[in-house]
Amino acid sequence: MSTTAIFINLFALGCLVFALVKDRGKTKQSIGVAVKSLIRILPTVLIIIAVIGLLLAFTPPDQISRFIGEQAGFGGIIAIAALGAILYIPAIISFPLAASLLQGGASTAAVAAFITTLTMIGVVTLPMEIKELGKKMAFLRNGLSFIIAIVIALIMGVIL
């Protein structure tokens, strides 16, 4: 088990003990929520993992890096950021996918752009956002998020 995995499990254990001391009933309820979420997300996780295996086995790294690698440059970053804004996949699943893209030759900036737009922008949820908060705020938030995702990605590309 990696150090990170141990740290995450210890963190969860710590939270659990703290919660148990504070409120037994609520903790029980939380565990119920956790089990249900796990059952719910598990098939999607497994699907993505299976797809990652095929993706890396069948796409040669130079193919991935040609589109979203270092030599793809700014255009590649914009393209994958747009893809991230349109796609609607849970964030937890996007990280193994992002890792597989990195492993396959994608640049840090492209992967950072992809994750950031994926989580921050929701084209699918935009109608709901407009309904609750108004057109102006919804469009401004999603539009500007796209720009800052690109800026964050470019900075990540430089510093990492």
Partner: protein
Amino acid sequence: MRQDAARMTDKKKVRKDIIRGYVIFAATLIAAAIILWLFPNKVTAATTTTWNYFLEMIMILPAVMVIMGLFSVFVSKELVVKYLGKTSGIKGILLAVFFGALPTGPLYIAFPLAAALKSKGASVSNIVIFLSAWACIKIPQELVELQFLGFKFMAARLALTIIFVAIMGLFIERLIAWTDNRRIGISPEVER
């Protein structure tokens, strides 16, 4: 009574969603098996990669779910609205990031919450920052990012996101205030 009925249909829908998820998973497995049967030279590469990712995921997924469950039960929506509705300035920004990062659930749960904040008089910047933090700065999410992309990647993206989300929130607030003022200048009877 009506609430009970609503909950029942909700439960049914959730069960249906779960079953659909597993059916799609089974279909994916069958499709993958057929593809690999057609290309036997890819079997080792595909299965090793999938197995490694599976191990990495299964070591953290239950823990991440426990953390998510705890936050979603212990941090109530009322608590968020109560504190965020009246805090402003730097403290407001930090609180918006903090409260956005704690509770869990998909983004569409956050919209009604943001609307409630708006009616409670929370500033536009706080609402934007809260929504954006909810979307992309979640503690369980950061843990999965740490596992798969490493500490440097996670920390750099987290720090940059907080900074730029705060700037964006303040900018949108100014912009909305400016356009609202202009409209009031032209026709005073227009509602805000």
